[in-house]
């Protein structure tokens, strides 16, 4: 592959596609840290003017990391579907933005287009979009997946129940699971980040969730977010694995820094599918990503952090995941400095994932050294709800006592469902009604002294 002619607008020139994308990207601290950001606001907008004129086809002939050097690039190029690409193949990036906003870009059209898009095209068009564009187009992208329930249907919002505990104490984890269920959370997955990444610890936690799920017949899935190799190991020992988790990134080098390669993900997907534990569907993978991950591993290949993040969604897409979420404010202020940058990144990530056909959720979160607080999280959470985000995270009181960061809470999810009229996954909603947790108006109003609640409490006594 050749590097084409440089790009220019007025007095500004940009030597290659990678540089142009970086300079066009909305300001964020991670690109400054990497030395890739535009040096002035004027240069940034000039880059956008130049980017708007780039034909989408150029992204198929100019790879950001050489094909020979990077298996993510090879996957993107080799898996590209030229037939699906046809409707937009003669467009520039600017034309593409215009088209996405028209009524011609229907949910059906966008679904058929997805395999024809590369992450670089999607990242490029996002850089020309305002936040409202990112929301409006993402809302038209319906990516529906299923395992024991159905996630991502329009008008629905699912929640990952995240009952982490600093020492994986079974009673502590169980208490948080019950609290989440009583608040209507847990339809995306009951997913624990283990404090210890070992097969034994993973099996113990899997059995704990599986027991409560079977005893009270909850139509949801479980996941212990250990390394993919640990999951492969415990599947061979017949542990009750529903979903296999892995953190992924957008370059081969970054994935190597996570101790993974693409073959491992394929092996894990095969093994989990082989267990045939899904009832209404067979999406068995769960991936997390986040802007800045590649740079922090010094594996960003001089690509701006938003574009390299979009490449991670191409990795995710290959393995038909049930769930993918960006952990958008977790990495810290050296990558996303404040609430404004976190908000922008969350909307970009959701948009890029959805346009590529990935079932995007978002961990709306921040750390205590970022310039952000719960008001910023409320804003991003609400915007993502409007954009049709598949799922968000539910942590007791928004305070993850194991990972030491603030995410969204069970209460936050109830708020979002209420103000936007969103429902839990249909199978899970039926269960919540049976348990007297949802009332006749579809609101989460648990009957704490009812028989269902007593059954849950009785289980917790046993755990």
């Amino acid at each position: 592959m050749q590097t084409g002619a440089p790009f220019s607008f007025e007095r500004f020139t940009f030597s290659d596609l990678k540089t142009l994308l970086a300079k066009a990207s909305p300001l964020r601290s991670g690109d400054l840290l990497a030395g890739l950001a535009a040096s002035s606001d004027e240069e940034r907008v000039a880059a956008r003017f130049a980017l708007a004129d780039v034909p989408l086809k150029r992204f198929l002939s100019e790879a950001l990391v050489p094909y020979e050097d990077d298996d993510v690039t090879r996957m993107i190029i080799d898996d590209h579907d030229p037939d699906a690409f046809t409707p937009v193949s003669s467009m520039t990036v600017g034309d593409f933005r215009n088209w996405l906003l028209t009524d011609e870009a229907t949910p059906e059209a966008l679904k058929h287009l997805a395999p024809g898009l590369t992450p670089e095209m999607v990242a490029a068009v996002s850089k020309l979009m305002r936040n409202q564009d990112l929301i409006a187009v993402a809302k038209k992208c319906h990516v529906v997946t299923a395992f024991r329930n159905t996630i991502g249907l329009p008008g629905h919002l699912s929640v990952r129940l995240q009952p982490n505990h600093p020492t994986d104490d079974p009673a502590g984890v169980a208490a948080s699971i019950l609290d989440g269920l009583m608040h209507g959370s847990g339809d995306a997955v009951i997913g624990i980040n283990p404090a210890t990444d070992s097969p034994e610890a993973m099996i113990e936690l899997l059995k704990l969730i599986d027991e409560v799920r079977e005893r009270i017949d909850i139509p949801t899935q479980s996941c212990v977010l250990a390394h993919v190799t640990t999951a492969i190991d415990v599947m061979a020992r017949n542990a009750p694995v529903d979903l296999v988790f892995q953190s992924i990134a957008g370059t081969q080098k970054a994935n190597e820094s996570f101790g993974i390669n693409l073959a491992m993900l394929a092996e894990a997907e095969d093994a989990a599918k082989g267990l045939k534990r899904g009832t209404v569907g067979h999406n068995v993978m769960y991936f997390e990503t986040g802007q800045g991950a590649a740079l922090s591993a010094d594996a960003h290949e001089c690509i701006d952090q938003q574009t390299v993040e979009a490449r991670a969604y191409a990795v995710a897409r290959k393995y038909s995941p049930l769930l993918v979420n960006t952990v958008v404010g977790f990495i810290g202020p050296e990558y996303l400095f404040d609430g404004k940058q976190i908000t922008r990144a969350g909307l970009e990530d959701h948009f890029c994932g959805k346009l590529l056909g990935v079932p995007m959720g978002c961990d709306v979160c921040y750390t205590n050294h970022a310039e952000a607080d719960q008001d910023d999280m409320d804003n991003l959470l609400t915007l993502l709800g409007v954009a049709g985000c598949n799922f968000v995270i539910g942590v007791p009181g928004a305070d993850d006592i194991m990972l030491n960061y603030q995410s969204t809470s069970f209460h936050d999810a109830m708020y979002l469902r209420s103000v936007l009229g969103l429902q839990p996954a249909p199978e899970f909603a039926a269960w919540l009604r049976k348990m007297e947790i949802l009332d006749q108006h579809g609101r989460t109003r648990p009957q704490l002294d009812g028989q269902a609640a007593q059954n849950l409490l009785a289980w917790s006594g046993a755990a």
Binding site: L32, L33, D179, H369, G397, I401, N404, H411, L448, S460
Partner: protein, 257 residues
Amino acid sequence: MSNLTNKKIPSGLDPWNTLRAHTDARIGLGRVGDGLPTERLLEFQMAHARARDSVHMAFEPNSVRNQLDGLDHAILDVHSAAPDRPTYLQRPDLGRSLDEDSVAALGKHAGDYDVAFILADGLSARATHDHAANTLKLILDHLGESWTVAPITLATQSRVGLGDEIGAALGAKLTVMLIGERPGLSSADSLGCYLTWGPRRGRSNADRNCVSNIRPAGLNPEKAAKKIAYLMVESRKMGLSGVALKDNSSNPELIEG
């Protein structure tokens, strides 16, 4: 979190209050409609405010120096290349490099030392103010006469990697850095300790040993000091630190031996 546990939960959630005995997670908070009761809301804001204040609190080396009064060691102030807190937070690379004055100051004390102790602000000056001097004194109590100790440095706007430049400039075989950790919502005063054998620029985390969560409500300074002293002895014996150096300090036989 104990102050939460003892309070009565509104909104009729009391039957679930028993579950709070099992975890420090914020469960059984009650609800008003879909939202948090006022008291719970304000408790969260207070925890966040304390954590943020710890991040942005100015480091006062003199307050730490005063607590070290009576120790028979020179004490030096050093500063990273990050001039202020906003720069420090966005440029971790600058927080890992010394400024020019500090390089010159350390050069005057260059020697051949077994260990250099560094007390650094990191992401919580409060942790360093509250626990670093005490922890250092406890570590020194555990060390025998056989250790030659470099001047103690008090490092401002410092990341963990700054210790590599300090240790190399002083000519120390080992650095032991006590540094404020990123505050959690319920742990604004948590101190971390990093041990690095053969400090030099470019060392990675895999080359270090870490003792984390040092604070009275976490790993208390007495226990932490014992663990750190053990790791120091082992590090010197093996001539390394990092993944190859295992913490067996909870094995009493090894401690006594």
